[in-house]
Symmetry: C2
Subunit: 340 residues, 2 copies
């Protein structure tokens, strides 16, 4: 390491993902020269504790990015659209959690440990994939390297924390209201989420899929450099879980798959933890994954729908691998590869 340590900014520091970013910056002991915390005008002026020190949250303005080398941003698409180009023009590497730039050809879309080399092509903005895509990439990359993915069908079981603080509180309020037999009028969701599942996340596209579902198709292709011949479809469903996205995944491969070999492969994949022993009812659930870093894989079995295929169940903390953890890991790679 020859380069001076970076000045870091965390944008959206007071949100659900922002708080998680602070935790992980601490856990991973990320080294920096200086750090500051940016938020909307509303949250500016409030105090925030990081590594035992108190910081005043600063309002996000163009000037706030002066002298910042790396910004970890999770403040929503509108804020990113406004400030990412400004930050980049000032020489700051803007690592963005929103969907604003993900499919931009000039913006690398990166899962640390999967396609780190794409980071070298950045022009100031780096995008973090959507949570439902992110957790799949580590196991899928390992399987693709060995068996070559041809087709994938994903059904998700997504936690409410993916929709922010208001949605988390709504699950609690709605549940309590239901338990005493009172009616409840949802507002964070279109339908009641308590004791229910909702087959819509994000808005609908013209082809009938939701944006969330198309993100799995398009972001997976971009991250793993798949061409259009690799067919991917998804059904994204919200479930009454606080933290932890789950995915039922069916993959067809070009090559024959041996399930025991595939299991060993994933056991040796960084960031993946295999929990898969039917004799002891061992498989991942979101409650067990919450607060943890690995992507958990279980229920691995040779597909009976595809001649060369595999079915598995993939669970991860959506606020970590799906957002904050990967953002911090990208920052660490940018520092390590001296790309700031």
């Amino acid at each position: 390491m020859t380069k001076a340590l970076p000045n870091i900014a965390v944008l959206g520091a007071t949100g659900v993902v922002g708080r998680e970013i602070l935790k992980i910056l601490d856990e991973n002991n990320v080294q920096y020269n200086s750090i500051k915390f940016l938020a909307s005008k509303r949250s500016a002026g409030s105090t925030l504790e990081f590594k035992g020190q108190k910081y005043t949250v600063i309002e996000t303005t163009p000037e706030a990015f002066d002298d910042v080398n790396i910004c970890l941003a999770s403040a929503g698409g509108e804020t990113s659209k406004k400030y990412a180009p400004i930050a980049a023009s000032k020489g700051c590497v803007f690592i963005d959690n929103s969907s604003a730039f993900r499919m931009d050809e000039d913006v690398p879309l990166v899962i640390a440990g999967v396609n780190d080399e794409d980071l070298r092509k950045h022009h100031g903005i780096i995008a973090n994939p959507n949570c439902s895509t992110s957790q799949l990439m580590l196991p899928l990359k390992a399987l693709d390297d060995k068996y070559k993915v041809k087709r994938m069908i994903v059904s998700t079981y997504q936690a409410v924390s993916g929709a922010g603080l208001k949605a988390i509180n709504e699950l609690t309020d709605n549940t309590k209201t239901n338990l005493v037999g009172m009616p409840y009028e949802p507002s964070a969701f279109k339908y009641e989420i308590a004791f229910n599942v909702i087959p819509q996340i994000d808005v609908f596209c013209e082809n009938g899929y939701t944006k969330e579902e198309m993100k799995v198709t398009n972001e997976t292709r971009k991250i793993l450099h798949f061409d259009e011949n690799v067919k991917i479809s998804c059904t994204a469903v919200r479930v009454p879980v606080y933290i932890g996205h789950s995915e039922a995944v069916s993959v067809e491969f070009e090559n024959d798959v041996d399930v025991n070999e595939a299991r060993e492969l994933l056991k040796n994949t960084d960031g993946v933890e295999v929990r898969d022993d039917v004799s002891t009812y061992t498989y991942p659930t979101p409650k067990d994954a919450a607060g943890k870093n690995p992507v958990y894989v279980g229920r691995m079995r040779k597909s009976i729908a595809f001649d060369k295929g595999l079915d598995f169940f993939c669970v991860a903390d959506n606020l970590r691998i799906g957002a904050a953890l990967n953002t911090v890991r990208i920052a660490q790679k940018v520092i390590e590869m001296e790309l700031y």
Copy 2:
């Protein structure tokens, strides 16, 4: 109708599905000569109300089936294994909700309105398919008639009521315990079901799929007379919902599919209700389906994973179409076709 009205028995009348059978016998105004209610020794002697009249629950014994023409049974596999052959030998048509006889070659496996003609082949026992299979059959039969099913991948979101009264109470207790931040030791489920999802229903088979998952494969093939070339796989997941199973379904067909045509087709299919208008956020959820008879279909879209395929989301009251409603409908067909 020339035949005398049947003497009916309801076996397992005090269970979750049994109670629902009573409701639907009343709603559908099923005609009979006499009716009686059978249960285990433990429940025998208790009183039960049906159509405003009080009945004493009778202990299930071989003699209890004397003079019974049609028995609607939902008392679990062991009870069915014991009493179905006895009942049949006494000339009773035993309509069974358990999985005990479903794959028996001599036993028709029937969804009323889908394969009624199979009823004619009965030898005293008729099986009701598993709940996760049942709700799919009405829409799938219509789609298969038109487009010919080639491959199907199903991910389920199954309500706890499918696991009985104890599981229903456990969801409530576990949820309340979680809301006050106390630990909970599950017993009806292997893992906590509150604010969680569990990717296991029923026991594991040698191929890594669960019995519940293999039921979808095998029962669908039997009901729709598919040969082994039709490939079907399923991932069955328990979710914290009281009533209403949901299924994310991806189907590949032999023939080209037009999604608008397919939607019209299902709109005109008896027992199916299409709730599918993305412009008004109209799609089915289990909470809306609970207590109702139709199989609801929404989120219909041309597959982007298969050249000739369709994705959709299918929701139904698992205690009704998945169990009690189909049992009663089979009884009605047996009466109508004079097969008792």
